[in-house]
Symmetry: C2
Subunit: 606 residues, 2 copies
């Protein structure tokens, strides 16, 4: 009838070990004794810092890397008050400990893994700036000003006045271009930090970037992975959210978070005045030109914002409908028509399935191999431990899951992924055999590390199967694989093997270019080249050339162009990394010194 | 550096005592042995049941009351699996234990207080029906239907189709009249339970009932008290929410919870067919008549929906502006005008302050004494233990706070309140002295039990001071007290002491009638009289005549009119009791037997 679990009376042995390590670490750090700190780390070691020490998103490796970081930052950062949070755990020779700490200017938390007595991985993250804490919980605003004041402005008066002034008579500190989930989440964090911000988005309503996509689109990631900051989805929210439902959520979120969201607004150009340390951003708001002068400019335009428009001979002669996948409206209009979809990744599969559902005759043209994972398998085997109802029950909150994920260095992340995908390959062997039998070219990434590594390295090359693969396997979606497109004729697509595919519709599911294409488009090619390619980390695998750069290029951290930032990624990344980007912006607004450690060279321009 | 609190290795003595009591209780209940169950209770005892045993909201008193309840319900309810939840606590001779249990048809939780080995107060509540659990957490919908289906309808298609059908080609099971926070919260619970429901509201947008009130209005209750079900306010939400901000929240809430909310819709008439067990409800939706046939009809029209319009000689001759407080637009238009406000409760104070802020010359006419409490004192001394940041930190979640509050029987609730208000009187003695010096007539309720008892007994007679009292004390708001209105002249209000107050504006802050006035208005006077007065519980104090009825009249529970329900109260009550009303409706929809125990007679018709 009664269940209680006895808890330990004393601090556990793993906790003691971690606490001992932190005592030595704090002592050596306090003396800025780089060799002594380095000696606390294993020979193979990784220290990943999100803004707390480096004012950057950076990972150092090995004792030399640790020593460099300490040398450059310890005296200024003054990290202290390291304390193990809860009980540390030990398994397979690894001791794992959550911890909190302080710096001269902020408060942080992190995750340590010891091998024996030495650090193997260390994650340090900043979560708030002292004196600039978010006004939440006990610090929240009172709201009503009690007392009676002549001619007092109400909340609505003030809100309307602020909305009328910002961007016209008062300048925002930051402008975010792109009001999808990335721009909205970052905007919410900046709002809570009191950073005056305008989010610019071309669509009429927040959420339209989702609403305007093809009808059957749903999130391919499960709900536990997809929360925005501050207002989690209620607990009846479906596992895979339909696109219009996410659109409505985003629209409501913008409203209740009181974001300055300029819809129906298109950014036209931007230039930076190095002398005044200020941007000039020209936007067209509901047809009217407005010039903004923010101190910081953030592109949150999405990784899928600059379409790779292909160029095939004869395209201009095509008599039917042809467009890039990003402009595909859904299958309604193509009942009974012949459709050819060039490409074999997520969009290609979704669009093929949607066209088939609507009674089109569909052929997929697969030019190179693709990694396929069934959504259920991905959820159960790859995500379930961190993002699932089970995880929530086990105390792995979204915040904890984000930090655990962040604690795995990119250098070795694939090592954790390979066994997961080996398991998936075994579990779904029949499924893969049927796909191959239908002629589909499969791969698992260059090193068999699967989907998430492909996503991080190149942002492409995979499909999370929510049903279309079955149609490919059984021939309902016709397949031409291992071919390329050589020519477009008025009524057909010609392939490299000589096949002519009759076509009323051609969809080019040919992917997207790097986000720095936005800098080229709005600022200049020079600035785009100066900051270089976004995304990928130099893994030396297909479409992610080396050298190894340790972190995703240009994402959520300082770029080679002062005051220019890139924000994006999936819902999980947008949620988590928006925190660090927001803190970097807030620190600059408040005049806190933010010397950047570990900013590398630009190796690729696109 | 490391803090851990040792937890007990064994079950505590209070937990053992509570567990022992439940073992005996379950055993006696299982045998439907009414005397044996009664013998487990103290001579002075209270068992409050919210729907779990009684399909009613009912409190029984004394061993006879307990025996009655057991006799009538035990064999059918088959309560079992009583288990102490967490550790029980003991203080001042009282053992307190949270617990869970099951019935034949549902799952419940509750709170027990023992005096010695005998029950002093017992709260039992139902929180879900077996087989009809809300689809949340692990039971949530998948959302995307994986797999590919020809001509599949998207979420948006289905939503639009459902919206087009419901009320026209498909009938809702329930119609809620009134779409304020009460109707919305209940609508959300019914939505999660799969009960097809239409909420009818006359305003153009959800939240307008707040937006259209006077400009300076804020919630007088703090945020921790005000959450809606399922989506709590984010943790930066201000303590006292401005009216327009609440309006926006409600509007967003309706959207993301996907409620069938008919705005710009006015209910015109309703009648019940006892044979068909069905209502005919005529509404005018955006100018068009629609006839609905729900099985259940709920008035969520608010306690402040039927104005007490006064009738004074000469009113028809008044040359200025005169209206009931519910129609007062705010002070903007009355700058430099002479305003007389009849009344001295919440609305009167808020309106006087607002007029004064806008530069009107304001006189308050106080006809009888009023209870005043400063908002800060109310928060700190009366609410803080249950609804505050501190409470949240102490593990008193909103859900727990609601249950603790619900566990105090109305019969003895004032005993807990009197010392709180004695403390407030002492703490704010100077404030009260200044008010009295200005001529203001103060009271603390008939038995000095203060604000919340006044609210429960009569729903009027108080002001939560957010600043206006200071203006009364210092004379900025002029005061005439202990007088009544005898006549209205074209340019003046004449008082019983002969005073003539010159007036350009008269606001009648004269309160509201009982909610069954809505039944009179929409159904018939006969039905209104049959169900009788709403609210109050027969405390035998001013405006709440006896006999003692044990629970609030007609609220959230079956009335004497089959299939007619009243929902309302403040945000806390709407949130908490909407659960029990929703379960009662769901049970009826699913054909679960719901024999009602303890429905009393109607003693008052208005």
């Amino acid at each position: 009838m009664i269940e209680t679990s006895p808890a330990p009376q004393t601090v556990s042995e793993p906790t003691q070990r971690a606490a001992g390590w932190f005592a030595r670490f704090e002592d050596a750090l306090g003396r800025a004794d780089a060799p002594a700190v380095a000696a606390l780390f294993a020979v193979d070691c990784y220290w990943r810092d999100l803004v707390a020490f480096t004012w950057n998103i950076a990972t150092v490796e090995g004792r030399d890397g640790v020593a460099d970081l300490v040398q450059a930052t310890a005296a200024r950062v003054k990290a202290s008050h390291f304390a193990v949070d809860g009980e540390a755990t030990a398994a397979d020779g690894i001791t794992e400990a959550w911890f909190t700490f302080e710096t001269a200017v902020g408060r942080g938390k992190g995750l340590l893994r010891l091998k024996g007595e030495l650090a193997w991985t260390l994650l340090t993250t900043l979560y708030e700036l002292k004196g600039f804490e978010e006004k939440a919980g006990g610090l929240r605003d009172k709201g009503a000003e009690h007392g009676v004041v002549k001619e007092r402005a109400s909340w609505l008066d003030r809100k309307q006045r602020d909305e009328a002034e910002l961007g016209y008579t008062k300048q925002p500190y930051a402008v975010i271009i792109g009001g999808g989930q990335g721009g909205i989440g970052l905007g919410a964090r900046l709002k809570r930090l009191g950073v005056p911000t305008i989010i610019v988005d071309k669509h009429p309503r927040p959420g339209d970037a989702w609403r305007t996509r093809y009808k059957s689109l749903c999130l391919h990631d499960p709900v536990w992975y997809d929360h925005l900051p501050y207002i989690p989805f209620p607990d009846h929210w479906p596992v895979f959210s339909p696109k219009d439902k996410i659109g409505d959520w985003l629209e409501s979120y913008v409203k209740v978070m009181e974001l300055n969201y300029w819809s129906s607004t298109e950014a036209k150009s931007a230039s930076y005045d190095e002398g005044k340390k200020e941007w000039t951003v020209v936007v067209e708001r509901a047809g009217e030109r407005v010039t903004l002068h923010p101190k910081q400019l953030i592109f949150a335009t999405g990784m899928s914002a600059i379409p790779n428009e292909p160029s095939y001979p004869g395209m201009e002669t095509f008599a039917g409908v042809q467009h890039h996948s990003s402009k595909h409206p859904g299958g309604d209009a193509f009942r009974g028509k012949k459709a050819v979809v060039i490409g074999s990744n997520n969009s290609a599969h979704d669009i093929c399935a949607d066209l088939w559902e609507h009674g089109a005759d569909v052929t997929m043209v697969q030019r190179s191999s693709t990694h396929i994972v069934k959504s259920e398998s991905l959820m159960e085997l790859a995500l379930g431990g961190l993002y699932s109802e089970e995880a929530v029950k086990n105390g792995v909150t979204t915040e904890k899951a984000d930090l655990i994920f962040a604690s795995l260095p990119y250098r070795i992340m694939h090592e954790f992924q390979i066994p997961v995908y080996a398991q998936i390959a075994e579990r779904d062997a029949d499924f893969y055999a049927r796909l191959e039998k239908a002629g589909f070219l499969l791969d698992w990434g260059d090193d068999n590390s699967g989907l998430f590594m492909k996503y991080l390295r190149r942002g492409s090359g995979y499909y999370i199967d929510v049903g279309a693969s079955e149609l490919v396997a059984n021939g309902d979606i016709k397949l031409k694989s291992g071919v390329s497109v050589t020519e477009i004729k008025p009524h057909a697509v010609v392939l490299s093997d000589g096949t002519e595919l009759p076509a009323d519709l051609i969809v080019y599911a040919t992917g997207y270019g790097s986000m720095n294409g936005w800098a080229a488009k709005l600022i200049s090619q020079e600035v785009a080249d100066k900051v270089g390619k976004c995304w990928g980390f130099g893994s030396g695998t297909t479409k992610d050339p080396g050298p190894f750069e340790g972190e995703l290029r240009n994402m959520w951290k300082p770029t080679k162009q002062e005051a220019l930032w890139f924000h994006g990624g999936n819902l999980h990344q947008s949620r988590h990394y928006s925190l660090y980007l927001a803190l970097q912006l807030k620190a600059r607004m408040e005049g806190i010194a933010t010397p950047v450690f570990g900013q590398g060279e630009v190796h690729h321009t696109s």
